[in-house]
Structures are given as C-alpha cells and as structure tokens.
C-alpha cells in the first residue's frame, strides 16, 4: 500500500479512496470468504457498492432470512447461489411435512434477475418438477445443480434438466426423496451432450437404462464423479469403470452378488485401470469376497464412505488397513473397537471420522475405546461424529488432551441420560474438557447424562463455537442461560427435550438477533414468553409449531399454554406468508 500516496500532493495517481470501482472489485475477488466480503462492504458506501456488484457467489443460509427479490437487488451479478430451507432437526423427523422451504420463489426471482446464473444448490427445501423445468428454461448458461435432502420432485423434473441444460457440468443429487415416474430421464441427455463432470444419482430408487448410461459415460470424457444407485448390478459396474477409468470419485451403488471368480477378475481389472480414483462410496451388502478387487485403489483413496455398507469383520478391517492415505472415513459401528484400532494405526492422515449406528438390538462392540484410539493416533483428526452406547469422563478427557485441534465434535450416546458407565457420574467433566482444550471448536453435539455444569463450561470456553446441538440435558434454566450469555460466536442453537424455560430466553433476547436461528422442542416454554420475545425483537421471526392435526388460532390461547416446538430466526423479510396451518408466527 503506498505509504506516501495519501500525503503526496499533486501526485499522478488518484488518492486511494477515489479509485474506480473496478479496482476494488478486483481487490475483493481475493477475499477468501463471504464473511470477509461482508465486512469489507460495511466499511463505506463505495466499498459496499463495489463489493455487492461483484459478488458472484451467494450463500443464503436461511431462505426466510431475506426475500429473494432483496437478494437479487443487492447482488445483481451472482452466478452461483446456495439456499438452505428447513431447520436441521427436519432431518430427524421433527418437522412435519409441508412446513415450507419452497425453492420456487427463489428460482422465479433468479430467472428474472440473474439470467446468467450458472449454479444452484438447495438444501432441505421443497423443489418441484416445475422448479426444475423453470431452471432448464431460464438459464442458458446453467452448469451445476446440487440438491441435498430435498423433496417434491420426480424423474420428470430430472428429464427436464437433462433435456434443457445444454451446458450442464454437474448433476449432484444427495439423499433426496425422488418420486419415480418411470421416465427414462437419462436418455434425454442429447447425443451431442458431452460436458458432464459430475453425475450423482445414488439416492434414486428406480431403474436406470444401463445402455444409455454407458453411452453417456463413454461420451463424457471429462466425467470425474460418478455415483450410481442400487439398481446397477456389479457386472455393469465393471464395464462402466472400463469406459471411465479417469474417475476420481465413485459411488458403487449396491455392491452384492453371488461370488463368481470371473466377475471378481473383471472387477479387479476394472479397478486396476482407475489410477485416479480418490473417493469411494456405496451400499455394500456384506460381500467380503469382492473386497480384494479394490485393493489396487486402496493406496490412493482419500475418502471412503461405507456408512451404508453392512460389510463387517476381518475383511473390512483388512481393506481399510490398506488405505494409508485416508483423510475422510465414514463407517457403520460394525467396524467395532478392533476395526478402529486398526484405523488408528493405519490411517495417520485421517482428518474426519464418522461412525454411524447400525442395528440397535445387536450387541455391537463399539465403545469409547475406538474413539480414544483414533484420537490418540491420528494427529490430523479434527472432525468427529460418533454414535456409541457408552462413554466415560476419563475417555473424553483423554480425547480432549490428545486432540486439541478438533473443529467439530459430535458425540451421540444412543440412550438419553446415559451416565459415565464406570463412575455413574454425569459426563459434565468430559465435555468440559473438550471445550476447554479445543479452542477452535466450531461445532459441538453433546449427549448422555449432563447437568447445568457442562453448559457453564461451554458458555465460558467455547468462544469459536458456531453450532451447538443439545438433547436430553441440563437441570434448569441456568443451563440455557449459560449458553446464551456466553458462546460469543454462536450462530445456530438447537435444543430438544431439555428442562429450559422462558426466563433465559427472554433475558437473552438480544443474543438471538446475533444468531442465525434457534430451535427448541419439548422444552418448558410457554406461549406468553414467545409473545413477549416477538414484541421485544421485531427483527426475529418467532414460529410456533403445534401438532399438525390440531390447529387452533394462537390468539385464543392463554399465555400459560405450553409451546411444543419453537423456531426463531432473524430476518429482514418480515413474517413469511407460506406457513401451513400448524405453524403460527407470533
């Protein structure tokens, strides 16, 4: 930066604050995050103007925080937009259907104001076939469609995308509920269409025309990611791989068949040809005999997602132990402590581990031991999601000491209120150790038997915590008060089945405006408090959910009425108009 510039008189260059917008726009393109850009935009009006006009990527974390039209007006040059809808707990069935989160208003506004839009990503929203048709018809440069945990559309909508988006590079469908209309949507990609780089239809239930798929894969020479669904049999997988040996990411779909040496050999050859394969996933149904066919790719794998795979036992462990460069591992608890011990000793580059629960009524041998081992031996481990049946404070303290670099720690002990199984104490000490040691912790989920003490620790120490999930924990209002009066960086707070009432909510009302959203269900809230909160904080939308079969106008109910589900979020758009009958905005 020119030190003498501003002091120089009669200098040839204009003073820095009079530089043309294009210069600032170029400067802002180097800012790494949207938060940085937002901060820059707040400096002065010329920076605001320059920044917003050059913003190409917009992430709307809550689709109701602003109206689509506002977003379009403020950021007219957006080329990639990402919008999220329902609250996170909708993933677990806590939000009844028809709650909202429709993508249509966003697509309609974008069609109007962002004709050059190239990328759209929706998460937990309702996307209809009409939406997909509108996308295909409105954006001539459309390249990337990503739908995560959405519902409302069918293969007819996919057909519209295939037929209409001539420049499509990515079609990424993750865990959506897609209705099967038996339309051969894959066939609607024209023969001249060769631009596909990512194709993920793993969540699709129905059949897919294999021949059409093979032709598509053959002509799309740039295909890097291919994730198949369960309908693709193993022998077809082998031939697909042979047509696309350049794949970097592969989802195998259903991986089970009778053992035939010829098929094994074919798979082995096919995988042998995939020198660039780095990420592997699929629903593997316990076919240990085929696992050795993968051995040739193990060394190169950086990501392995076996969280839908019921494969277990020594074959699984042998397979994983060969994946020495693994950075991301998702498995089911069928891996057991023994398997995790092997992971600990083999996968020294591991950064993220997720262990999902399988059969509850089985006597799985996954305990705290597995997590302790991995956290002790994997120095780069920073993100954990772990479902298990038992835990001790000592284990958590050890984990905290070994891995102060956690950024995401989510522990789910399957039975609520489970104490330390050795001492029978609450797990306060353990989780306190985690938040005290892991200074960079951004996301935390706690479980087990917990008192208000753990919240005191979290509130005091978790300065960088952005998202906190609490269930079946705490003794009193104090718990919630600790959180809301501490946790400087808190953005999302979701609570279920805790004895938290009105007082801490009202006492910390201002905090809620610094957060993105708050979810509280099955707590001890009353309608009166919610009304007060809404009156006090006009920029918050306070939504109450009753059970869907019973809708009674809120006005008639007294203040003492209990509130079953509360969802509060900050918004500049005012109360939304698409609430179903069981949602009421106070």
């Amino acid at each position: 930066m020119g030190r003498g510039g501003s002091r120089a008189t009669g200098a040839a260059a204009p003073p820095w604050h009079a530089l043309p917008d294009e210069v600032w726009e170029h400067a802002f393109s180097f800012l790494p995050t949207a938060a940085d850009r937002g901060a820059a935009a707040g400096a002065c009006s010329s920076w605001l103007r320059a920044e917003r006009r050059s913003r190409h990527h917009l992430a709307v974390a809550n689709c109701y925080a602003a109206a689509p039209r506002d977003a379009i007006e403020r950021f007219p040059a957006v080329r990639a937009a990402e919008v999220k809808g329902k609250p996170h707990f909708a993933d677990f069935g806590l939000v009844p259907p028809a709650w909202g989160g429709a993508a249509a208003p966003w697509i309609a506004a974008a069609a109007d104001g962002w004709p050059l839009l190239e990328e759209l990503s929706f998460k937990r929203m309702v996307v209809t076939d009409e939406c997909l048709e509108m996308i295909a018809a409105s954006f001539r440069n459309f390249q990337v469609l990503r739908l995560v945990s959405c519902d409302g559309f069918s293969t007819a909508g996919l057909a519209a995308i295939a037929a209409g988006c001539r420049q499509l590079r990515e079609l990424d469908l993750q865990e959506n509920e897609i209705e099967d209309c038996s339309i051969h949507w894959l066939s609607l990609f024209p023969e001249s269409f060769t631009s596909l780089v990512t194709l993920n239809f793993s969540c699709l239930d129905g059949e897919v025309n294999i021949t059409v798929l093979e032709r598509l894969v053959t002509r799309c020479r740039n295909l890097k990611t291919l994730k198949l669904n369960n309908a693709i049999p193993l022998d077809k997988l082998a031939s697909l791989l042979q047509k696309a040996p350049q794949l970097v990411e592969l989802g195998t779909g259903k991986f089970s068949a009778d053992y035939h040496p010829d098929l094994f050999a074919k798979l082995e050859v096919a995988f042998g040809g995939c020198k660039s394969l780095r990420k592997l996933s699929g629903a593997w149904d316990a076919v240990p005999d085929y696992l050795p066919a993968f051995y040739c790719v193990c060394d190169g794998l950086t990501s392995l997602n076996l969280s839908y795979a019921t494969v277990r036992g020594p074959e699984l462990i042998k397979f994983i132990s060969r994946c020495k460069n693994l950075q991301q591992l998702w498995v089911m608890d069928l891996i057991e402590d023994l398997g995790l011990a092997v992971v600990a000793s083999s996968c020294s580059k591991l950064q993220e581990l997720r262990v999902f629960p399988s059969d509850h009524f089985g006597l799985g041998v996954l305990t705290e031991r597995g997590l302790v081992d991995v956290s002790a031996s994997c120095p780069m481990l920073e993100s954990v999601l772990y479902f298990c049946r038992r835990m001790t404070n000592e284990a958590l303290i050890t984990i905290a000491k070994n891995r102060p670099n956690f950024t995401c720690f989510r522990l789910c002990i399957l039975e609520p209120h489970t104490p330390d199984y050795i001492t029978q104490h609450p797990l306060d000490a353990g989780f306190s150790a985690i938040v005290e040691s892991c200074k960079g912790l951004r996301r935390l989920s706690i479980s087990g038997l917990l008192t208000d003490l753990v919240f005191r620790s979290i509130g005091a120490h978790a300065d960088r915590l952005e998202m906190l999930s609490i269930a079946f924990a705490g003794n009193s209002d104090l718990g919630l008060n600790y959180i809301l009066s501490g946790c400087k960086s808190l953005k999302k707070l979701e609570i279920r089945d805790c004895p938290f009432g009105d007082k801490p909510l009202l006492a910390n009302a201002a905090k809620l405006e610094t957060m993105r959203s708050l979810w509280m269900s099955s707590c001890l809230l009353t309608l009166g408090a919610c009304r007060q909160l809404a009156r006090k904080m006009p920029h918050l939308s306070v939504e109450i959910m009753n059970d869907p079969g019973w809708s009674c106008p809120l006005d008639s109910l007294p203040d003492e009425s209990p509130v079953e589900k509360l969802y509060v979020y900050r918004t500049i758009a005012g109360p939304r108009s698409d609430t179903p009958s069981y949602v009421q905005i106070v």
């Binding site: 399957l414 609520p416 004895p499 009432g501 079953e564």
Partner: protein
C-alpha cells in the same frame, strides 16, 4: 409428492430393525397402549412431538395426535429405552406439569431399562437421517429373506464356499458348501449323507473286514436334540454354538466351522443361548419352573441340558 415421500419414509421407519412378521402386531400394541395411557398420572410425559401437546391440552384427545403425521411416533423407528430416573428432573413450570419427553408413558409398562426390546420410542432419536434408516432397512431385510425362503439372487449373502465339518468319533473330516443350501433342514440332510457311511464303517470294522455291508443308520435329530448327535458350529469369536437359533443368512455369514457332537457330550462343551449351570437346571425341574423349561426346550433353547439332567435323576 411430499406426502408420498413422507409415507415412504414412514414405511422405512416401520420396518427398521424389525422382523417382517411382527412389526404390525407391535405397532397395534403400541397404538393401543398409546390410547390407554393418555391420562396416566405423572404428567403426559410422552415421546415428544405432537403426542405431548395433545396430552397437555387439558385432556383434549386429538386423534390426530395419536396418528401424528410425524409418523415415527407410532412406528418405533429407532427405539431407545428411556430411563425412568429422568422423570424427576423437571423444574416448576407454569401451567400443566409436563416433563421433558424422557420418561414415556409407555415406559411405565416397560421399566426394564436394561433390556433391549423395542419399546418407548423417542421421535427423531438417535439423530440419524431417515434416508440412512431406509437404506439400512433394505439390507437387513435381505438378511431376513435368507431364512428358509428363496431370496432374489442379488441379495444372497455369500461367504467362503467350503467349510470344514468334523464328527465325533470319526478321525477324517469333510468339507461342505453352505451356499448350496438355503435352510437348516437341507444342511441337516447333507450332514447325514456325508457321514452316514463313514459312521457305519467306523462302528463296524469287523463287518468291513468280513466284506459284509455295514449297517447304515440315518443320522437324524441333529437340530432338535432328539438324536444321538447334535450339530454345533464355531463362529469367528471361537465360541461353540448350537446350530439353528438365528436366521439362516446370519448363520452362514458367521459360521467358521461345523461339528457334529454326541448329544450326551454337549453339556460340557457347548454354549447355548442361555447359559444354565446345573444347580439351576435342577431347580428348574420342579414346577412351576418345569413348565417354563418345557416351553423353552420346545423352542430348542435348552433341550440338551434338560435331557441330561433328567437322565441323571
């Protein structure tokens, strides 16, 4: 379309973790208990969700609550036993004394929090996406399809083709391909075929020398303890277990080797599903325990033990 998606999800919830046969029955029982429990003292501590709202609403019985669109309430989905001790935790709150949805009203019928039986479901717990549950359901169903039924080819669980099988009293073992059978009956017949001749030759060496055909006796009763021999297996953990307890598919994937033991030798070397020391077996011989024992042995759970003790007396 949203509705279709939801009901598909709930179907997944219904069959998650359940034997295909009994989930309907259980669901009906759950519905009945739900209706009965609505007015239980101790507050309407329900499983969360709309269920609790209906409870607290001054007894207004909303049928809609019992058939909550949040369908995982009725379908057990993931069920966890919620411990009773948590019910005391709630602090005073205005209005109806409602507790955090920990102790379910149903839990009072099922206070054995140590058993793993599927009861007291808690909605949306553990926090796993429904998508993940549905997929796991389909693989569990494929496991269950193995049990004596013709499973679609793509879903059969395959393991190493041949495993060793040895018989008491016969020095030479055989190898058997489990993939050739789809039920315990067929396995039993095959074992009979494999060893019948060998057994006869073993027991009548003189007959062989005299060039007379040894008398072959069918080896029967391998599975129910009624025969002279009983079929056991060793699993990957090294335990010896009676053949026949688990669904066929599960057996095929966990068996390491087979053994045909003399039924009279069983007590010392076999672990059954229930471990019963002999003093307990003697206790069980007297009524009313003997009725229970008869019932259990008819389910092939303690057959051999009972017979042995009877012989001792």
């Amino acid at each position: 379309m949203g509705e279709a998606a939801e009901s598909k999800k709930s179907r997944g919830h219904h069959s998650w973790m359940r034997e295909p046969g009994d989930h309907h029955q259980h669901q009906d029982e759950e519905e009945k208990t739900l209706e009965l429990s609505l007015g239980l003292p101790g507050g309407g501590g329900g499983g969360g969700g709309g269920w609790r709202a209906a409870c607290r609403d001054k007894g207004k019985l909303s049928v809609a609550a019992a058939t909550a669109t949040d369908s995982s309430l009725l379908s057990p989905g993931y069920s966890t036993l919620v411990s009773h001790s948590s019910q005391g935790k709630a602090k005073g709150s205005p209005g109806a004394a409602h507790l955090p949805a920990t102790g379910n009203a149903l839990a009072s019928n099922n206070n054995s929090s140590q058993t793993r039986s599927p009861s007291t479901p808690v909605i949306g717990w553990p926090p796993v996406r429904s998508f993940r549950r549905n997929l796991a359901t389909s693989s569990k169903t494929s496991l269950e399809l193995q049990n004596g039924k013709k499973a679609p080819k793509a879903e059969e669980i395959k393991r190493a083709p041949f495993i060793k099988i040895n018989m008491d009293g016969i020095p030479i073992g055989r190898k058997i391909d489990l993939n050739a059978f789809d039920s315990y009956e067929k396995l039993s017949l095959a074992v009979d075929r494999l060893f019948r001749g060998l057994l006869a030759a073993q027991q009548a060496p003189l007959a062989a020398e005299a060039k007379v055909c040894p008398q072959e006796v069918a080896i029967s009763g391998l599975l129910d303890g009624t025969g002279k021999y009983t079929l056991v297996y060793e699993d990957y953990e090294g335990d010896r277990v009676l053949v026949g307890d688990v669904p066929w598919g599960m057996f095929v994937s966990s068996v390491k080797r087979l053994r045909v033991l003399k039924t009279s030798d069983l007590s010392s070397s076999v672990s059954t599903s229930f471990h019963l020391p002999s003093y307990m077996l003697n206790l069980l011989l007297s009524p009313p325990y003997s009725e229970i024992v008869d019932f259990l042995s008819s389910m092939q759970l303690i057959a051999s033990g009972r017979k042995r003790t009877a012989a001792e007396c």
